[in-house]
């Protein structure tokens, strides 16, 4: 029996180029069709990348192909969600992570602005109420206000 130390171990250098398993291009095609649909009918699309059998390197290749555009945002809710527009305007990447920074979902969204970034109606209503409350309490606390009446 070989001693443990006798078993040769050599560490291979990580390859410079990520290996390609050919799954990035089909997604890019799907994005292209979604973008065409949006241009014609203003129909948004969301693509869940969890359902795609990516091999190692496929995701990096796709992201490299999509590149980065002008907009970038972070939403802080249940952990960070990073949102950025790719170099193809209208094509967004949404990278959802939990509070520990581990990814829980990765999506591509084709829209003018991703759903996640929009403020929801209910929140606006709540926000109006909150603002009113803030105003009321501010007014109550301001002695100068009464003197104006």
């Amino acid at each position: 029996m070989a001693k443990l130390a006798g078993i040769p171990i050599h560490i291979e250098q990580p390859e410079a180029e990520p290996q390609q398993f050919g799954n990035a291009l089909p997604i890019l095609n799907e994005i292209r069709h979604a973008l065409a649909r949006f241009a014609e009918r203003a129909e948004p699309t969301r693509i869940d990348l969890a359902a795609i059998p990516f091999g190692p390197g496929d995701e990096e290749r796709l992201m490299a192909l999509l590149g980065r555009g002008e907009v970038e945002a972070t939403i802080d809710a249940l952990g960070p969600t990073r949102v950025w527009e790719t170099r193809f305007p209208g094509v967004w990447v949404l990278d959802y992570a939990n509070v520990e920074g581990e990814r829980i979902a990765l999506q591509i969204e084709i829209d003018e602005i991703p759903q996640m970034l929009r403020t929801q109606r209910a929140d606006i209503t709540d926000s109006l109420a909150a603002l009113d409350a803030a105003l009321a309490s501010a007014t109550a606390a301001d002695p100068a206000a009464e003197s104006r009446h």
Binding site: Q19, F21, N23, R46, A50, P53, L78, E102, M116
Partner: protein
């Protein structure tokens, strides 16, 4: 029991914003293998969903399934789901022990009669086997299962042992192990197979139940199609190599290093239906094939006895080479014997040859 609060309320109590909730729904949709466009429907349903009571029974098992579930990085969406279910009995996880634990189970059954979910991991000795092989609090697994499912809405068999018998049932099956579906005939049984199952698949099934209050569509083996609808082979990122005929021939050859197909190393991907290839393991880090290891087919019935982990799927289990040689040798011997008999027949015929003469022919005219 906390079934009165809806999931929406529960989440908001946890300080989850609407954007957070939307994110949660997007992740849930992804987990349930639903299209992202389903997220609003999920949001709507989840707002109103109530916390179901869950009773988790562990029989002849290795706790690997529970490990799979609880060892996933926390806090994840899976855990959020767990926060909103009421896990009323799980003898590995719960603090109570002995009579108190059993009491909790009985109480949950009574309070939520007809509505609770039973999750089972592990196979159990069948009704004809010696019940002593596995008991909890002096109760045989069989009795406990039959008693508990009585008022259940549905049963979820988690792991290949519960779903198909798994390791305990493997040849020669000393404990007479059977699967849950072998015993439970009058309740819906959902099999979430795998050894262990992908954690997100377990929670995905629970999420579906509490989101829509319905059971998922099942395949021939009672598994949710959403996760078990496609074979590992069909979703494998190494599939193009299979199609091109590029194979790793051993675990350390150039093909293995280049990430070629593992069919020849015994990969059972073509006959295995599971979500590993897309959902992956350890928070999406990797999965067996990506790690260079052939799929064992652990989510399939009788995978332990399916002819060897490192034998290619198409390879017969016996030793056909020997059979071929033996039968061939016997065939050759018998053939020569039979042929010589026939040849002798010809010789005998020649001996009895009756010469045709012109005189004989002439008399015919």
């Amino acid at each position: 029991m906390a079934t009165s609060k809806t999931l929406g309320e529960s989440l908001r109590q946890h300080g989850v914003s609407r954007r957070g909730f939307l994110k949660f729904c997007a992740a849930t949709a992804s987990m349930m293998a639903l299209p992202p466009s389903m997220a609003p429907a999920i949001a709507q349903a989840l707002e109103k969903a109530r916390r179901p009571s869950v009773i988790w029974l562990s029989f002849q098992e290795c706790t690997g399934c529970t490990e799979s579930l609880t060892r996933s990085f926390s806090p994840t969406v899976e855990n959020l789901i767990f926060d909103v279910i009421s896990l009323d009995y799980h003898h590995t996880l719960q603090a109570a022990a002995g009579d108190a634990a059993e009491h909790a189970r009985e109480q949950a059954m009574n309070t939520n009669a007809g509505e609770y979910l039973v999750v089972v991991d592990g196979s159990l000795p069948g009704p004809n086997a010696n019940p002593g092989y596995s008991t909890i609090a002096g109760i045989s697994n069989y009795d406990m299962l039959m008693d508990t499912i009585d008022g259940a809405a549905a049963v979820v068999a988690v792991g290949t042992c519960a779903a198909f018998g798994g390791l305990p049932k493997a040849d020669p099956n000393p404990t007479g192990a059977v699967s849950v579906q072998d015993l439970v005939k009058d309740k819906p049984v959902i099999n979430v197979s795998g050894c262990p199952p992908v954690p997100m698949v377990i929670t995905g099934v629970l999420a579906q139940f509490l989101t829509f209050g319905t059971l998922p569509e099942l395949d021939e083996y009672g598994r949710p199609r959403a996760f078990f609808g496609q074979s590992i082979h069909d979703r494998c990122y190494r599939r193009p190599f299979y199609d091109k005929g590029k194979f790793a021939e051993s675990f350390d050859d150039e093909g293995a290093k280049a990430g070629w197909c593992l069919y020849r190393l015994g990969c059972k991907g073509p006959m295995t239906y599971n979500a590993c290839a897309t959902m992956k393991w350890n928070g999406g880090a990797s999965w067996p094939v990506e790690a260079g290891y052939p799929c064992l087919g652990c989510s399939e019935p009788d995978f332990w006895d399916a002819g060897g982990f490192y034998k290619a799927l198409s390879v017969p289990t016996g030793s056909p080479g020997d059979v071929l040689l033996t039968a061939g040798a016997v065939g050759a011997a018998v053939g020569v014997g039979a042929g010589l008999m026939s040849r002798n027949q010809g010789k005998q015929a020649a001996k009895h040859h009756d010469k045709v003469t012109a005189d004989q022919l002439e008399e015919k005219l």
